[in-house]
Structures are given as C-alpha cells and as structure tokens.
C-alpha cells in the first residue's frame, strides 16, 4: 500500500513513511519490527504472496490428496517407493492443510489486514477533510483547460467560482471554495470516495470468506450412508456408515430426523450413439420426518437437488444394486436374510458382493463374488455385464466356512471378506464348482453347510449428509466482495480545481484542471463534460471542434498538450468495454 500512495505526490503522510523507511538501519529492534511490518504490508509483498499462493496451490492438483481420497494416496505411496514417502514428509498429499500453504495464506491475510486497517483510517479521514488545496499551476494537471467569459456577461470572478461550485456539487463532487473575495478565487472538488470504500469492502470480505470457511470446518460435520429401498436413516451417530465431525462438533448437534428411501429410479440413455446405456436421470422418492413424531413428508431427492432437513443437506451421491438373498445354515434355520449392497466395479453396474453370515451354525459362512444385472459371457468364458438394466440378473459366488473373525470386535470392511482363516466350499477350481444363481433360484452348499437363495434385486443409493454453518456467511461475504470489487474498479476518484480571475478588460478568465487517483481512462471525458456544463451555464458559445473553439469569440481552450485537440476530448471514449460512469 505504501508504494501506491507514495507515488501520489499529493498525500504527505507516505512521504514520512518513505523517510522512515529510508532511515531504517539505525532504528534498533523496534525499528526492525516496524521495518518488517512495513515490508509485510507493502503492495510488493502482497503481490509476491499472491503469486506464491497461486504456485503453491498447483501441487495439490498434481498429487493425490488425502482429504479427497486417502486410499489412492496410500496406493500412490506403495507404487512409488522411491519418492512416495518423501512427498509425504513434504505434506504434498495434504497441500491445502500443509504448514507451508497455510503459512502463505496466513501471511497474505496478515498483510491484508495490515493493509486494510490503515487504509480505512486514512480514507475515513480523507472523507471528512476538505479537498486538497488548489495547485499553483493547474496547467500541469493531466486535464487542463481555460475559458473566457466575455465582459458583457457581467460575471465577476467570485460569482463564476460560486456558480462552478454549484455545478460541481450537482455533479456529485464535494466542493470547497477558497479566497472567495480575493482576486483569484478558486475551488477544489473531489468525488468518487466510494472507490476506496469498494476496495476496502472487497479486501475485508476476503477475510470474511476465509473466516467463514474456517468456522464451517470447526462446527460442521459430514457423513455417508447407504440406503437400500425401504431403509430408513435416522440422524444419530449410529445411523451413519461413515462420519467426519468438525473439530468442535458435539453429538447433541444432531437433530434426530429420519429419511426413508421408498423408491429409486434410474433412466438410461437409449438414444445416442456412443453413450448408449449411460444413466441420464436418477430420482429417489423419500419420506422424511423432521423429528420422530413430526408428520411424514414425501420428497424427491435428485443429483443437483439435495433435500434439506434438520439443518443438514442430504445429497444423492451414489447408487447401485442390492441382491436380496436368504441363507439357511446346516440346521435349516434362516441365518441371514436381506439385501446385500453390491459395490460397483465396472461397466454397467458390474458389482462385487460380499455376504457374511456370522449366525450360521455350526460354522459361520462367508460368500464373495459378483452381481451382474445383465450377464454375458465372452468366448473365453469371462463374464461381463452387457446392460445396466436388470435384463438377465446373475449372482456368481464362492463360499467359505470357518471363523469370520467378527467376534473379537475389531472393525471390518463390510465390502471385503478376509479368507485367510476360512475354508473354501465353493469355487471354480474346486470339485463343487462356483455358485451361479438367477433370481428365484437356490443352491445347496456342499457338506450340508446350508443353502443360499437369490430372492430378488433392490436398488440402493448412497447419500452424503453435510452440515456447514459457515456456508451462508461465506456466500454473503463473497457477494460483498464482488460488489466491492465492481465498485472499486468502476467508480473513479477524481479531483477538480477551478480558478478564476478578472482580466483588465473586464473579461473573466477561468482555468480548470482535473486529476484522477489511480486508473481512469475517462478523465478526459469528464473534463469535457464539466467544460460543457460551465459553458452552458455561462452561455459561452461552445462548438464541437477544437479548431473552431479556438477561433470562436468567447472561448479559448489551451489544452495541456498540443495534440489534445477539442474534438478529441469532446468525443467520449466510451468503448464497448467502457464501464459505467459513476454518477
């Protein structure tokens, strides 16, 4: 910031700052701190940190990231034994929570605060103070012109300045008239304070966005759950298959609403070449209850269209088939009955299934295999699924018996069967062969271990449940930021000075100059507009072309440069890209 203001010669404070900076080496420890602070809050540092942030964000897209997919990271480290570990120590799998990434953005935001606060104070003062004094030589300003009011108009210098002041006020300028009664009265005017306000709002809102995101991480939570048609999820900790609490999460935050999956329908593309069989619509019909004893409500859950319930949002994120099976044990008792969620493995809902039957007697039973909605076999005997719809559903399984290892309480992945301690019963390479079932069929396991029947197929959906209290605030701050940004880029901060004086022959001479703070490609247009206002007010004939103006009776334009002819400055450079004027 200091840099920028330094280049503005009208402001005295930065000069002092610059001097302080120059005198630095003798300042001692306090001076050192001050120097560091000045450095940190300088525009150059902000620029450097911004570019650094951009560079630092890149590795996160090159290497797999833990928060997104921890298992891929583990696999990546295994696959790259030479440098996988090294990358981990450099936190390249957790880029966005890494020490170095955090350091950059924290520094950036400290710099931002150090930049915004003094700037806000300075601007507050500027808004309350009078426009700067009239420069001695207006002709040095980027926009400069003179006008002459003929003697017979009867407009003394002091009246001219007051009428100019009135015009500028109407145009939104804050005006101060000086030396009203002197020989050479002048006025200083300024407008466009909103520009700086916009800039401050923009930068402050960025802090707001960051804080909101952080708060969301602290107080939010998220989780996943798989729901087979007919299943009900109740929002309690045990209801989740997977749960990720924020740092400050308390389980009392969970409102015990419920959501039941009544029906799930998928539409597949049957029209286009190339994409035949791709899903083009997912619709889940659900019944929700805000509370255990609230009235039930029918709702539709779709991709891109979450259901909101009890302060959370519920998203449809996955789906698949769940074959329904019944397993009887050796004694003929039903040991397990119900849908088994198939995990997607390949095209057209080619899914893997694992069935664990810990209640089977005398031995626990386990099954692992595949479910295919439309089973086909290649000539080599490889099974594949030819269509996503249930045209020829098939369940192929291997079976095992023994100790499933569930009794010692260690958590197990429901989608994997650890066959280490199990004895195979059915497999393709055994005498008994594998199990292949179509709906309605059952199979008797060898050695009287029991039976398994394939009763039918249901669909299931995977839902993500999120609660993020920071989200709304992030949105509000983001909107504020864009608003501020637009104002800051398209409001122009301008200063105008006018000085008048009486010529011996009775004419009133007027000169004016304009100065912009920052980028302002429409300053010339503003100068022309003001000139026109004054000319109209004083009824000085003003003609369009500069050459004519030069020779016409009352007017004389002495632009600051020889090539700045009137014609050019009258035509408003309003390009298609030209922003709106701040009026």
């Amino acid at each position: 910031m200091s840099e920028r203001v330094k280049s503005n010669k009208l402001s005295p404070a930065p000069v002092a700052a610059a001097k302080a900076e120059a005198a630095l080496p003798v300042l001692g420890p306090v001076g050192m701190l001050r120097w560091a602070w000045t450095q940190l809050t300088s525009m150059r540092t902000a620029l450097f940190l911004l570019l650094l942030l951009a560079v630092a964000a890149v590795p996160g897209s090159l290497f797999p990231q833990r928060p997104a997919n921890p298992s891929i990271v583990t696999q990546y480290i295994k696959d790259n034994p030479d440098y996988g570990k090294l990358l981990d120590t450099l936190q390249l799998y957790d880029v966005y929570s890494s020490a170095w990434f955090s350091a950059i953005y924290i520094l950036l935001f400290i710099s931002l605060i150090g930049c915004v606060v003094p700037r806000a104070i300075a601007h507050y003062k500027a808004m309350r103070s009078q426009p700067p004094r009239t420069p001695k030589r207006l002709s040095r300003l980027p926009e400069y012109g003179t006008m002459v009011v003929p003697a017979d108009a009867g407009l003394p210098a002091s009246d001219a300045i007051r009428s100019a002041a009135g015009l500028l006020r109407k145009r939104g300028y804050r005006v101060e008239v000086r030396d009203d009664d002197g020989a050479r009265p002048s006025l200083g005017a300024e407008r466009g304070f909103l520009k700086e306000v916009g800039n401050l709002v923009f930068h402050t809102s960025l802090i707001g966005v960051l804080v909101s995101v952080a708060a969301g991480g602290l107080f939010g939570y998220s989780g996943q759950r798989i729901l087979v048609e007919g299943d009900t999820f109740v929002n309690t900790l045990v209801g989740y298959d997977q749960f990720t609490p924020g740092t400050n999460f308390q389980s009392s935050q969970l409102q015990p609403y419920s959501i039941q999956l009544d029906k799930f329908a998928v539409t597949f593309d049957r029209e286009s070449r190339g994409k035949f069989g791709q899903p083009i619509d997912f619709t889940a019909n659900v019944t929700t209850k805000e509370n255990p004893d609230a009235p039930a409500k029918q709702e539709v859950l779709k991709v891109n269209d979450p259901v909101t319930l009890g302060g959370t949002s519920i998203y449809l994120t996955g789906n698949g088939y769940a074959p329904v099976v019944t397993v009887r044990d050796g004694a003929g008792n039903v040991a397990m009955q119900g849908p088994v969620v198939g995990k997607l493995q390949g095209e057209n809902y080619y899914s893997s299934v694992v069935i664990k039957v810990p209640d089977a007697k005398p031995d626990q039973l386990g099954f692992a295999g595949f479910f295919l909605p439309t089973a086909f076999k290649t000539e080599e005997g490889v099974s594949f699924s030819g269509d996503p719809e249930l045209i020829n559903p098939q369940l192929t399984l291997n079976s095992f018996y023994g100790d499933l290892g569930l009794d010692d309480g260690a958590p197990q992945n429901v989608f994997e069967l650890d066959v280490k301690d199990l004895t195979p019963l059915n497999a393709r390479n055994l005498d008994a062969g594998g199990i292949t079932l179509a709906p309605g069929m059952s199979y008797t396991l060898p050695d009287g271990k029991g039976t398994i029947s394939f009763d039918g197929v249901k669909r299931y959906v995977g839902v993500d449940i999120h609660h993020n209290p920071g989200q709304l605030y992030a949105l509000i701050f983001a909107l504020l930021a864009v608003g501020g940004l637009i104002i800051s880029l398209y409001v122009n901060r301008r200063r105008v000075w006018v000085r008048t004086g009486a010529h011996e022959d009775g004419r009133t001479m007027v000169e004016y100059g304009l100065l912009a703070r920052g980028e302002d490609h429409r300053l010339a247009a503003e100068a022309a507009a003001i000139r026109k206002l004054l000319a109209d007010e004083w009824q000085i004939p003003e003609s369009g072309s500069g050459d004519d103006a030069e020779s016409s009776a009352g007017i004389q334009q002495t632009p600051s440069r020889q090539d700045d002819n009137g014609a050019d400055s009258v035509s408003t450079p309003a390009g298609p890209t030209g922003p709106k004027k701040d009026q």
């Binding site: 897209s61 980027p142 891109n304 998203y315 994120t317 490609h521 050019d568 298609p576």
Partner: protein, 374 residues
Amino acid sequence: MPFAINETMGQYSELFMLLAAGTYTVAFIAFAWDLAKSSKALRAVDLKAAQTEQAAAKVPVGAGVGTAGAGAASSAGTDRTESHLAGPAGRAERPTSSAAKQAGDASGAGQTADADMRYAAERRAPARVAVALTVLGVLIHAAGVITRALGAGRVPWGNMYEFLTTGAFVAVAVFLLVLIRRDLRFLGTFVVGLAIIMLVAASVAYWTPVGHLVPALQSYWLIIHVSIAVLSSALFTLTFAMSALQLVQAHRQKTVAAGGADKLGFMRLVPSALSLENLSYRINAIAFIGWTFTLMFGAIWAEKAWGRFWGWDTKEVWTFVIWVVYAGYLHARATRGWTGTRAAWLSIVGYLCVIFNFTIVNQFFNGLHSYSGL
C-alpha cells in the same frame, strides 16, 4: 427426462462447423494480407517522411507536458521513432486517458489503430474483406452452435467438443463486438486463427455425437456458470494477444529508440505498448469480474451437487490459480515497477493457466469434474 436427441440436427451442426472453419480460413488469409500490405504501405510513408525530415531541420514543434511520466516525447507528428517512445514500458505511474491518447496521436500518419484504438479515416480494403468474411463465418458458426443445441435439446456446452465449438464462437463474436467500437483488426489473424484451431481440434480430437447430459451436469448452474466462464475466457483471449503484442512492441520500441533497425515492420500496424497495456488492463478488469463470478457460481453449484462448496478438486484448484494470477495482475498494475512488461507477463501466464485448465486438466487429471465427455 430432457428432450429427445435429434441426430439429423447434429449432422447439420457438424456441417455448419466445417463451413465456418472454411470461411474463417479465408478471413485469416485476408487478415494476414492486410498485415503484410499495410506494413508495406507504412514503410513507404515512413521513407518519405524521413526524407522530408532530413531536408527540414529537426525542430520540435512543442514539448508535451508530461504529467504521468508518459508523455515526454512528442515532437512532430511524422517522427515515428520518437513517437513510439511515448510510455516507456517500465513507467512508474499510470497515465490518464489524455496521456494515453497523446501516445497514440503522436504516432502520426499511417498508424492504423491509434492509442484509443479508434478507426482511422483511411480504408484498408483487405481488412474490410477480412472482417466481412469473419462476420459471415460467425453467422454460419452461430447456426452450427444453435443446431447443436437443438439436436441435443439443451445448452451446447456439455462436453469438450461443445466447449470448443461454442467457445470459439464466443471468442470470435466478442472480438467482432469489440470491433464495433475499437479498431482491433490487428488482432484478427490471432483471434480467427485461434478459432480455426479450436474448431479443428474439436472435430478431430474431441468429436462427440449429440447426446444427453450426465445427471451431474443437469442443472441451471451449467447455463450460468459455464457461460460466464466461456465469456471471461474469450476476453482473456483478447488480452492475451494484446499482452503478447505489447511485449513485442515494447521490445521494438526500445530497439528503435536505441537507434537499432526496425526489423518488425508489421508491428507498425499495432498501437504503442502503452496503449495496448491500458486497453488490455480494462478488458482484463471485466474478465476478472467475470472469472470471480465463475468461481463463485462454481462453488454454489458444487455445494448443490456434491455437498461442499469448495473441495480443492483439480478443476477448482486451477480455477482458483487463474483467479489469483489475475488478482496478482491487478495488483501489479498498482505496484511501482510492476506495470508494463511484467504486468503483461502476468496476463500471459494467467491465460496459459486458462488453457491448461481447459485442456490438460479436463483430460488428464482425475477429479469430480471428469465428465468432459471424452
């Protein structure tokens, strides 16, 4: 379920795209011809001017009053060498409009696009032909985009093929719209050339028949988010070209100022480095606001689709990187010693990131956004 697919429409669309690419190719040749011809004409004008100048003593007509450190050098209007010095690349402060105007006005006769990049009086027949052909091309191209939309029964930006064809259309259309008010015809070869590349790449490498959208893309946010992204990218395309030219021009101005030979004659057609910088700054400012909206709407959509508004998905990372680079660009313009050439480099880097985000990230990086239709 959305509309039915209409394959015939899709085939018409492909035909239109081919025709558009063909028309653009002819327009491209015309633009190139314009560059070559104008460059020759300008050289002749220069030679003549140099001769008259040698005859008459070199008397400065009037020293400009430099306010922003920019307008130091303005002597006789025909003095091309000096005039190009207006606005040294590394100048400390930003000029106002009149300083910029001076830089251009001072460049004298034969400068086809002045600093304001308004149309000069003289006619450039090849350039007119080129623009007319481009208009014809863009009309055919529009027909292609519309038939594609009708064929698929939805907005025509759901996969790489459609991003490219529609993106090329928007780039050319934005260019032509800017042409109404500003003489940017010196960018013609670049913009039209890029459109041809995009159309060819779409047809050869990314061809996809008309089809439905995957459910993840079925949202009105697709319309809002992607259209603003494409529009901002089109603007970034213009500023990229201008920044690249700015670098060349700055180099040329320096060489010429140091008394070196002017090897890049065709650059006479191009405004001064400072004018290029100023106009590209203004376009970049608009595009940056557009990109800010792209980012925000993307986040809102992500919240709707995936339940989190920001997750550092690869596409999100690169959108963020682009945003930060252009924020850096805007800061550079306000930082002493960083305007001019360095700012131009930032603008170029930003655009390279845009390209990278579109091509490499869409194709080779796995992320939630990996449904670009390949």
